[in-house]
Amino acid sequence: MFLRSKGSEELIGRVKEISGQDPHLCMQCGTCGGNCTAREFMDFLPRQVVRMVQLGDARALRCRSIWICSTCLLCTVRCPRGIDVARMMEALRVINLRRGREALPVAKIPAGLLGQVPQMALVGGLRKLSA
C-alpha cells in the first residue's frame, strides 16, 4: 500500500502545473493503455502511471514507461475523460530532465543508426529523452 507524504502533494502539484491536466479526472478505465503504442514494453501501463500521479507516488518518476512512450497521442485522443495523457507522461519526463536525469545520452545511440536516421529522429529523440 502506498501512503501519501509531503512529497506526494508536491509531485501532484507539479505534474498538474506542467501538464495542465487534472489526474483526478481519471476513472481508471484503461483505454489509454489498451491503445498505447508502447504498452508491451512498459513496466506500468499509462493508466497505472496516471494512478500513481493521483496518489503522488514517486515511482511515477522512476518508471521506464515514461521513457518508452513515443508521444503518439493515441491515449490523448481516446481518453473518455478528456485527459491529455501524453502531456502527463511528458511532465514526468521533464521533471527528471530538469534534474539532469536523462534516458538517451548521445553516446547511447547505436553507431550504426546515427548516420542513417532522418534528422527529425535525432532532433525529436534528443528533445524528448535527453537533458
Binding site: I68, L74, V77, L104
Partner: protein, 287 residues
C-alpha cells in the same frame, strides 16, 4: 499558383527525394512552391510541457516570417506540419504564450498564416483528375496501403482529416487510378524516435503494420513522414536479411506515387534511394 513553402531540415538531407518529388509533382498540378528565404529546423516535436516556451520559438519564428510572404505556408513532412500547426494554434488561442513568444522574437504574430499540407493542396486541386489523365495510367489497379501514422492526425485540433477515420490519401489514390486497400493499422504509430532508444519497440511496430497492410493485399505503402518511411524501410530490409521468407513491401512517399501518375520524369522522384527497392514492382512504368 505560387505558394510559400517550408521544406524542413530532413528534406535537405535524408529525405531529399520527398522534397524533390513534392516540388515536381505539385508543379505538375500548377502549384509552384516558393521556399522561405530563411528558415531553421522547426524543432521536430512540439513540447507537451506547458511551460516550455523555448521549444516553440523556432516554429513561431518560421510562421512570423511566412506571414510576411503570404496567407498560407505549405509543408509536406508530417512532423513539420504537426509542429507548425500546433504552434500556430497556440499563437491563435493562448494570449500568454503569444505575448511571451512575440516579445522574444520582436514580432506581432497572431497565428494568421494557414499551414497547409501537400495532401490538402492535392485535395483541393481541380486539375488533379485532368493531370492524371494526361499521365500514363500505369498505376491502374496497383494496391496501395495509405499509412498516416501519428502526426498528420493527432492531436485532433490540428488533424489534416478525421483523426480516427481519415480519407484524404485514399481519395487521392483512387483519383490516380490505383486501389487503396483497407487495413486496420493505417493510423498506428511506427515507434517514431524510439528507434534511437528502444529499437525492439520499433521493430515490433513495423512487423505489425507490415503484416496488417500485407494481409490486405498491399503491394506498396505510401506515407508523408520521413521517419515512418525510414522505420518501415530500414527494419524491413533487416527482416529480409535475417529471414529469407519475409516479403517486404516497398514504402514510398505519396508524392513519388503522385509524380509517377502525373508523368514527372522518374529521375526527379528519387525512387532509387529506398532500401526496399520499389522499382521492380513499378517496372511497367517508364523508369
Amino acid at each position: 499558383m505560387e505558394m510559400p513553402y517550408f521544406p524542413g531540415c530532413t528534406l535537405y538531407r535524408k529525405a531529399e527525394n520527398l522534397d524533390a518529388s513534392t516540388r515536381s509533382s505539385l508543379a505538375a498540378l500548377g502549384v509552384k512552391l516558393i521556399e522561405l528565404p530563411r528558415w531553421t529546423c522547426c524543432g521536430a516535436v512540439v513540447p507537451l510541457a506547458r511551460d516550455n516556451y523555448m521549444g516553440m520559438v523556432a516554429a513561431a519564428r518560421i510562421l512570423a516570417d511566412a506571414a510576411k510572404m503570404g496567407k498560407t505556408l505549405a509543408t509536406v513532412c508530417s512532423f513539420c506540419y504537426n509542429v507548425l500547426k500546433q504552434v500556430n494554434y497556440v499563437m491563435q488561442r493562448d494570449p500568454e504564450a503569444r505575448q511571451k513568444l512575440n516579445n522574444y522574437l520582436e514580432e506581432g504574430y497572431r497565428g494568421e498564416v494557414r499551414v497547409i499540407h501537400a495532401l490538402e493542396i492535392c485535395r483541393q486541386n481541380p486539375s488533379l483528375r485532368a493531370a492524371k489523365d494526361r499521365g500514363s495510367g500505369y498505376l491502374r489497379g496497383l494496391k496501395v496501403a495509405c499509412y498516416y501514422g501519428c502526426t498528420l492526425l493527432r492531436p485532433a485540433a490540428v488533424a489534416l482529416d478525421d483523426a480516427e477515420n481519415p480519407a484524404v490519401m485514399e481519395e487521392m489514390v483512387a483519383v490516380l487510378g490505383a486501389e487503396a486497400v483497407a487495413y486496420p493499422l493505417r493510423t498506428a504509430c511506427c515507434g517514431s524516435y524510439q528507434v534511437l532508444h528502444e529499437g525492439a519497440l520499433v521493430a515490433q511496430k513495423v512487423r505489425e503494420i507490415i503484416a496488417s497492410a500485407s494481409a490486405a493485399g498491399a503491394e506498396v505503402i505510401i506515407t508523408s513522414c520521413p521517419l515512418c518511411q525510414f522505420n518501415l524501410d530500414w527494419w524491413q530490409e533487416r527482416f529480409s536479411r535475417e529471414d529469407g521468407g519475409f516479403r517486404p513491401v516497398p514504402v514510398l512517399y505519396f508524392t513519388q506515387l503522385l509524380g509517377m501518375a502525373l508523368g514527372v520524369p522518374p529521375g526527379d522522384l528519387g525512387l532509387e534511394r529506398h532500401l526496399v527497392d520499389p522499382r521492380p514492382l513499378l517496372s511497367g512504368a517508364p523508369l
